[in-house]
């Protein structure tokens, strides 16, 4: 559980940063005249929070194969899209503009989700490199002691 929370926290802060960037890009393209108050600073935090809910719900202590883990990730991403669209456009009338905005948000979620996982993977790759270096030292030390 501790590891799961640590991972969720890591992905939350990366998500919030990327959501900020996505809001800047999408906002500039779709609604450049829009002006916000200070509450705008809250949106990335709330969206990031919504984004980590599926990873806390759809998680397991079972040892998953790589294929199972990928399927689980895709399910998580779809759930995030559904939750965010419901949160952002749940009360809006269904018209062409809403559908276009929703599609743009869904695409942003896919891009952010992939980026978050790539960044997490890169951080893990750094850890793995450090572990491999420690491993070599351990093996050399162990061989000398025999």
């Amino acid at each position: 559980m501790k590891e799961r929370i640590r991972e969720a926290a890591g992905s939350y802060f990366i998500s919030v940063t990327l959501i900020n960037a996505a809001m800047l890009i999408l906002g500039s393209l779709l609604s450049p005249q829009q002006r916000f108050g200070y509450e705008a600073f809250l949106y990335p935090l709330v969206y990031g929070l919504i984004g980590i809910i599926p990873s806390l719900i759809i998680s397991t202590d079972k040892e998953l194969s790589v294929k199972q883990a990928v399927i689980r990730k895709v399910m998580q991403m779809l759930l995030i899209i559904v939750l965010l669209l419901a949160f952002m456009f749940g009360d809006d009338p269904l018209n062409r503009q809403t559908i276009f905005m929703a599609a743009a948000v869904a695409l942003s979620v896919v891009i952010i989700y992939i980026l978050v996982n790539v960044i997490m993977w890169m951080l893990d790759a750094r850890t793995a490199k450090s572990m491999t270096e420690d491993l070599k030292r351990f093996q050399q030390g162990h061989e000398k002691s025999i």
Partner: protein
């Protein structure tokens, strides 16, 4: 059962002698423990019993209620439980990497990231075993000595 320790001269070979009324499972258990401490373990392939040097073991896996020892190309079954290996093997180069696997760190070639904060160990025989997220801190600590 009384335990006696007798100090012998350096020129004599060290030994362990068991005085018992009959050779039963209890005595076999003591023998297995002593062998394990000495660096080998009893394991079965079919009905045949073998002495497997610990240094030859790549990893130990528990599958259902059985425990298997994986060597470079062979697999043997052990009557010991995974937790029994876990109690004794940390003194050596073995570390638990998941609920069901203990790996010999001397047989790992490289560690790579897998999904979900897990890591993949490539072994010298090109097999891969996964380090679970939960066991990563323990493995790192062991590697750093």
């Amino acid at each position: 059962m009384q335990i006696r320790v007798k100090i012998i001269q350096n020129k004599e070979t060290e030994y362990i002698e068991i005085g018992c009324h009959r050779h039963d499972d209890r005595v076999d258990e003591i023998i297995r423990s002593v062998k394990l401490h000495q660096g080998s373990v009893d394991a079965y392939s079919g009905e045949s019993l073998y002495q497997i040097p610990l240094s030859d073991i790549y990893y130990i896996e528990a599958v259902d209620d059985r425990t298997y020892l994986y060597l470079e190309n062979e697999c043997y079954e052990s009557r010991r439980r995974l937790y029994e290996f876990e109690e004794i093997l940390p003194e050596r180069s073995f570390v638990r990497i998941s609920k069901s696997i203990i790996v010999n760190m001397m047989k790992i070639v490289a560690i790579r990231p897998a999904l979900n904060g897990r890591f993949l160990c490539r072994l010298k025989n090109d097999e891969n075993v996964i380090i679970s997220r939960k066991y990563v801190p323990e493995v790192r600590e062991k590697l750093r000595g």
